[in-house]
C-alpha cells in the first residue's frame, strides 16, 4: 500500500510512493528557485520591508489572494487526481489509503485554506476603500490573522511529505479519528493547522466588525453603505459566533488524541456524536461565512455592469441579516440520519427550507437590477451571470436534501457531492472570481485580459456542468461518496467518465486564468483613471493602485452610491473642487512580529503534531514573548507629513 500504513510506525518522511517522491523533488526545486531568485535580484530586503512586515490592508489582501490561488491549485490537483481514479471502473491509479488522504486534504484545503482566505482577500482589498477608511480598525491584528492563516496552511500542507496526510475526511469525525483507529501524526496535522488558522479567522471577524461599525467616512450611515461591506458585516458576525464551536470541538479531540481524554471515544463515557454536533454548529454557519461575501460581490457587480443602482437595497440588507440569523438554526440538517428523532429533524428541516426565502429575495433583486439596465458583459459580470442558474439548481437540490425523509435516501451519495459543489463552486468560487476580476485593476493597476478570460470562463462553466450534472444522476443510482473504486457492472462507468472530462475542462480553465494573469501583467490594459468600470462606490474614486494612506482627504458621503453621485454632480457642473488643505495622516507602523509570532505558532504546532513537547514549549515561549513585547511597545504609529502627501498626490495627478 502506498502512503503511510496504519499498522507500522510512521517514518518521518513519507516514503514508498513515486508521486510523493516527485513532489519532494518539485518542492525542493521550487524552494531552491525562490531562494536563488530572491538572492540574485537582491530582493530579500524588499520582501521583508514591503510585504512580510506590512500592516497595509491592501497588501495583506493581495497576499491572501496569492496564497488562496496557490491553495486552489493544490486542492485542484487533488480533485483531478480523484477524478482520474474514478474515471474508469476497477482503476488502480490511486490506492484506498491514498484516495482517503486526497479527499480529506482536498475538502479541508478548499474550504479552509482556499475559500476562507479568498473571502479575506476580497474583504481586505475592498472594505476599507468602500467605506472611506484609511485602514482596518486593527491593522497589526490583521497582519497576525494573515500570518496565522499562512502558517496554518503550511503546517497542513507539510503533512503531505512529512508524517503523512490526515485521512478521515474534512469533517474528521471520531471515533475514526481517535488514536486507536488512526495512529500517526496525520490527524494531528489537521487539528492543529485548523486551530492555528482558526485563531486568525476569529481575529479577522472581530477586526472587520469593528472596522465597519466604527470606521465609516463621515456621512456614510449604515443604510448608505455599499452591499459588499454589509455582507462582510453579516459574515463577521457569523465568524465571531461560529468559530468558537470549532475551536472547542478540535481542542477536545486533540485532548483525546494527545492527553488520553475520552470526550469522543466509544468507551469511558465519551460520545462521538457530540463532536458531530459541535462540528456542524460551526460548519453550517461556515458555509454562509463563505457565501455571504460572494453575495455582496454579486450585488456590486450587477449594479455596476447594469449601470443601475441595486434593486431593493433595503430588502438586500434585510435578507443578508436574516440569512445570517437563520443559519444558526439549521446545523442538524448535516446529520439527519444520526437518529435524533422526528421532532429534531422536522425542526431543522423547516428551518433549512426557510433559508431559501431570503436567498430567493436576493436572486430576484439581482435579476431586477439587470432588468432594463445597460448591461455590459465584462468578465466580472460574466461570472456573476453564470452564478445565477448555478445557484438556482444548487438551491433546488439543497431544498431536496433539506427534506429529512428524502435525505435518508440520498445523504452521503454523489447527489450530495454534486449539490455542495454546485453551491460552493457556483456560489463562492464564481463570486470570488467575479470579485477578483472586478477589483484586480484596483489592486495592481491593470485589467485582466478579456479574450483569455472569456475562454477561461466558458471552459470552466461548461466543464462545471459536465462534471457535476452526471453526479446527481450517479447519486440516484446509488454511488456513495468517498468510494475509491467501483465494479464495471454497476452502470456508473459512462457517467463517471463524463464527469472526469468536465473536471479536466475546469482544470484547463484554471491554467488559462493563470496564463491570463501572467499575460496581462505584461500586455494588459493599464488602468490610468482609477475607475475602469465606471463604478459606483468610493474605491473607484481613488487612483489604481491606491496610495498606502488610501484617501488624501477623507470623503464626506451624502448618498448611497457615493462615487456615482459625485460623478453625476460633476457632469452637471455643480461639483465643488476639493478645498480642504492636506492634514498629516496618522498611520500604523510596519512590524515583523506578526510573522515571527505566527512562525512560533507553526513551530509549537509542529511539536504537538509529533508530540515533541520540548519543541512545542519552544513555540509557546516564542508566542508569549511576542505578546509581551507588543504589550510594552510604545512606538506603534507615525504621521505622514503634509509635504509627502502633497508629493504623492501630485505624482498621481490628483493635487
Amino acid at each position: 500500500m502506498p502512503g503511510y500504513d496504519r499498522h507500522h510506525p510512521t517514518p518521518f518522511f513519507v516514503s514508498g510512493d513515486p508521486m510523493i517522491y516527485a513532489s519532494d523533488v518539485l518542492i525542493a526545486l521550487t524552494l531552491v528557485g525562490v531562494v536563488f531568485v530572491l538572492t540574485y535580484f537582491r530582493r530579500w530586503r524588499w520582501l521583508w520591508e514591503e510585504w512580510i512586515t506590512t500592516v497595509d490592508h491592501k497588501k495583506i489582501g493581495i497576499m491572501y489572494l496569492l496564497a488562496a490561488l496557490a491553495m486552489m491549485f493544490r486542492g485542484g490537483v487533488d480533485s483531478e487526481l480523484m477524478r482520474t481514479q474514478l474515471a474508469f471502473p476497477n482503476n488502480h491509479f490511486l490506492g484506498a489509503e491514498h484516495y482517503d488522504q486526497i479527499f480529506t486534504t482536498h475538502g479541508t484545503i478548499m474550504i479552509l485554506f482556499m475559500a476562507m482566505p479568498l473571502i479575506f482577500a476580497m474583504m481586505n482589498i475592498a472594505v476599507p476603500l468602500q467605506i472611506g477608511a484609511r485602514d482596518v480598525a486593527f491593522p497589526y491584528l490583521n497582519a497576525i490573522s494573515f500570518w496565522l492563516f499562512f502558517f496554518g496552511a503550511m503546517l497542513f500542507n507539510l503533512s503531505f511529505v512529512i508524517g503523512g496526510s490526515p485521512d478521515a475526511g474534512w469533517v474528521s469525525y471520531p471515533p475514526l479519528t481517535e488514536t486507536p483507529f488512526d495512529p500517526g501524526p496525520g490527524e494531528n496535522f489537521y487539528l492543529l493547522a485548523l486551530q492555528i488558522s482558526g485563531i486568525g479567522s476569529i481575529a479577522t471577524g472581530i477586526n472587520f466588525l469593528v472596522t465597519i461599525l466604527k470606521m465609516r467616512a463621515p456621512g456614510m450611515t449604515l443604510m448608505r453603505m455599499p452591499l459588499f461591506p454589509w455582507s462582510v458585516l453579516s459574515a463577521s458576525v457569523l465568524i465571531i459566533f461560529a468559530f468558537p464551536a470549532l475551536t472547542i470541538a478540535l481542542a477536545l479531540l486533540l485532548l483525546d488524541r494527545l492527553a488520553g481524554a475520552h470526550f469522543f471515544t466509544m468507551l469511558q463515557g465519551g460520545n462521538p456524536m457530540m463532536y458531530v454536533n459541535l462540528f456542524w454548529v460551526w460548519g453550517h454557519p461556515e458555509v454562509y461565512i463563505v457565501v455571504l461575501p460572494a453575495f455582496g460581490i454579486f450585488s456590486e457587480v450587477f449594479a455596476t455592469f447594469s449601470r443601475k443602482r441595486v434593486f431593493g437595497y433595503t430588502s438586500m440588507v434585510a435578507s443578508l441579516m436574516t440569512i445570517a440569523v437563520i443559519s444558526y438554526f439549521v446545523w442538524a440538517h448535516h446529520f439527519f440520519t444520526m437518529g435524533a428523532g422526528p421532532g429534531v429533524n422536522s425542526f431543522f428541516a423547516i428551518a433549512s427550507m426557510c433559508v431559501g426565502i431570503p436567498t430567493g429575495v436576493k436572486v430576484f433583486n439581482w435579476l431586477f437590477t439587470m432588468f432594463k439596465g445597460r448591461i455590459r458583459t465584462s468578465l466580472p459580470m460574466l461570472w456573476a451571470i453564470g452564478f445565477i442558474p448555478n445557484f438556482a439548481i444548487g438551491g433546488a437540490t439543497g431544498i431536496m436534501l433539506a427534506a429529512a425523509p428524502g435525505d435518508y435516501q440520498y445523504h452521503n451519495s454523489y447527489f450530495l457531492i454534486a449539490h455542495f459543489h454546485q453551491v460552493l463552486i457556483g456560489g463562492v468560487v464564481y463570486g470570488m472570481l467575479a470579485g477578483m476580476y472586478y477589483w484586480w485593476p484596483k489592486m495592481f493597476g491593470f485589467i485582466l485580459d478579456e479574450r483569455i478570460g472569456r475562454w477561461a470562463f466558458w471552459l470552466f462553466n461548461i466543464g462545471f456542468y459536465v462534471c457535476f450534472m452526471p453526479q446527481y444522476q450517479l447519486g440516484f443510482m446509488g454511488m456513495t461518496r468517498r468510494v475509491y473504486i467501483y465494479p464495471a457492472d454497476m452502470g456508473w462507468s459512462t457517467l463517471n467518465l463524463i464527469s472526469t472530462v468536465g473536471a479536466y475542462l475546469m482544470g484547463i480553465a484554471f491554467v488559462l486564468i493563470v496564463v491570463e494573469i501572467l499575460y496581462s501583467a505584461v500586455w494588459g490594459v493599464r488602468d490610468t483613471t482609477g475607475d475602469p468600470w465606471d463604478g459606483r462606490t468610493l474605491e473607484w474614486s481613488l487612483p489604481s493602485p491606491a496610495p498606502h494612506y488610501n484617501f488624501a482627504h477623507v470623503p464626506v458621503v451624502t448618498e448611497r452610491d457615493a462615487w456615482w453621485g459625485q460623478k453625476e454632480a460633476r457632469k452637471k457642473g455643480e461639483i465643488q473642487k476639493e478645498t480642504r488643505p492636506f492634514q498629516p495622516i496618522h498611520m500604523p507602523r510596519n512590524s515583523g512580529r506578526p510573522f515571527i509570532m505566527s512562525l512560533c505558532f507553526f513551530i509549537g504546532g509542529f511539536g504537538l503534531v509529533f508530540e515533541w513537547y520540548p519543541l512545542a514549549l519552544v513555540g509557546l515561549v516564542g508566542i508569549l514573548t511576542s505578546l509581551l513585547m507588543r504589550s510594552v511597545e510604545r512606538d506603534t504609529d507615525y504621521y505622514i507629513p503634509v509635504e509627502e502627501i502633497q508629493h504623492i498626490e501630485s505624482n498621481l495627478g490628483r493635487a
Binding site: L213, V237, F241, A245, G269, N271, M273, M274, N277, L278, V281, V325, Y328, F329, W331, A332, G339, A340, G341, G343, V344
Partner: protein, 102 residues
C-alpha cells in the same frame, strides 16, 4: 473607559480570570465525580455556564461602563439568542428523544 484607570492594576480582569477558571474546574469535577443525578448535573452545569456569561459580560466586556450606541444592545441580544439556540439545540439533539443516551 476612564483614562486614569488605564494605569491601575487590572483587578477586575484578574478576578474575572480566576472566577472563570474556578467555575470551569468546578463543573468538570462535578461531572467526573458524579456528585448528583443526570438531570441535576445538567441543570447545575448550565447554571455555571450562565454565571460564566455574567462574569464575561461584567468583568471583561465593560457592559456597565457607559451607554453605547444601539447596536450594542442588538449585538448582545443576538449573542444571547445564538447561545441559547446552540445550548438548547445541542441538548435536544443529544438526548435523542430521552435521556438514555448518556
Amino acid at each position: 473607559m476612564n483614562t486614569n484607570a488605564n494605569r491601575a492594576f487590572p483587578w477586575k480582569h484578574v478576578t474575572g480570570f480566576v472566577l472563570s477558571i474556578a467555575l470551569t474546574l468546578l463543573a468538570l469535577w462535578m461531572v467526573q465525580a458524579h456528585v448528583m443525578g443526570f438531570t441535576a448535573l445538567i441543570s447545575v452545569t448550565l447554571l455555571f455556564a450562565a454565571l460564566q456569561i455574567l462574569v464575561q459580560l461584567f468583568l471583561f466586556m465593560h457592559i456597565t461602563d457607559s451607554p453605547g450606541p444601539r447596536y450594542h444592545v442588538i449585538a448582545l441580544a443576538l449573542g444571547l439568542l445564538f447561545t441559547f439556540t446552540i445550548v438548547a439545540g445541542s441538548i435536544w439533539i443529544m438526548t435523542f428523544g430521552g435521556n438514555q443516551a448518556y
